[in-house]
Symmetry: C2
Amino acid sequence: MTDNSHTSAGADPEQPYCYRYPHPAVTTDVALFTIRDDSLQLLLIERGQAPCQGCWALPGGFVDIDEDLPDCAARELAEETGVENLYLEQLGTFGKPGRDPRERVISVAYLALAPESKLSVRAGDDAAAAAWFPVKALPPLAFDHDEIIAVAHRRLVAKLDYSTIAFQLLPETFTLSELQQVYETLVDAEIDKRNFRKWAQALEVIEDTGELRRRGSHRPARVYRLLDRERIAFLK
Amino acid sequence: MTDNSHTSAGADPEQPYCYRYPHPAVTTDVALFTIRDDSLQLLLIERGQAPCQGCWALPGGFVDIDEDLPDCAARELAEETGVENLYLEQLGTFGKPGRDPRERVISVAYLALAPESKLSVRAGDDAAAAAWFPVKALPPLAFDHDEIIAVAHRRLVAKLDYSTIAFQLLPETFTLSELQQVYETLVDAEIDKRNFRKWAQALEVIEDTGELRRRGSHRPARVYRLLDRERIAFLK
DNA sequence: TTAACTTAGTGTGTAGGTTACACCTTTGCA
DNA sequence: TGCAAAGGTGTAACCTACACACTAAGTTAA
């Protein structure tokens, strides 16, 4: 680290931020997953301008010069979608030259999860439209966002094995059947009910609220809650 | 993404790269581990100039404007230490405002591993000195490099459980005892010899070369090699 | 009121994998 | 030749993961 350059008032009022060496732009992009209609869905923004006009993209944007990276991810998500206060973890950084045709852009990608109940997506100021897509049926994507999404999805599924990350997809209270449905959606397979319930209860991360939930013409289900909301446990 | 700014010839010849919005600097830093003298050691560079003059830092430096991130990590490592062609994986990106007092610097950190035999560290052009330190006895570190190193170390140890990443710390050929010493150093505990050997051989990632290694006054050891050098297997 | 339907909720046996554990082998050197 | 020092090997106990089927409790409609 030998670069002592820093911004200064440049001569060109259109481009007032000047450096001794070229600087890339830095963005954050967020892959926000939720479960809707029994399928794993991803939030995307329709791009209003070129490049990739009409394509869909991950919500994200440029990092402010005094802004921490997770703050930027949360802010962009909130601005573009109205979604706030959810689980966010850094996924990785994507910086291949040429991934954005305008200038060198390095994107720090985040993985976010939220239950459908927490979400009320409206298109924000910046975005033409925000919409949910099933991960299995994504539209054409801008830049290298398909790659980012693939990494995010792989990470999410991999973490099922050694963490309780999937609980972030559940609302405040839930039944064991709902929990099981979340897992079945994520692994895209059926899971044995007895084994699943044994496993879930042995985790010691949920507690019985004592309440019952009557939904439909059948025996009511016990209602559980996470012991430590906003904290995911590591199992191994 | 609405920023259409890009570099242009500025008026100030000292700071010719100008943008509409402020841009952070982007660096890569590499936490390169090896095993020397039966301890896990980390490569550090002594800083020649302020800030943090006299402190030690991870090898790293600014990303060239047309350079991919892993290339930058590899290049900086080679420039500063003469070390080439080793295992490299992205660790995470550290970008807290203020982590570098000069300007906003966002660092993409990499985890690197190599056997001691591959390494012939010499201080390169940029660095005053390069040296190895046991992870348990690190000197005062520049910037937030202590945090990066902590994350790197945790990641390395965590990956022992579900990958063969530790084989990257072994030379071309090795004995099972040497392999076990690597694992014992990493987990900082003794491991049962028979169980370890059963486990290692069941992995199907090493093969017996047929050779024997005579070192010292005792029975010679079989020599193994990795089946697929430069590839780490995922176990779970 | 009762029968049929729907989801909630529960236990046991088995297979496979992980752990604990001790002795003989082969070499070099004194 | 015998001693020191690391190399190399098998088995039993335990524990975890998985397969598997029925009863419980409520709603609805005949």
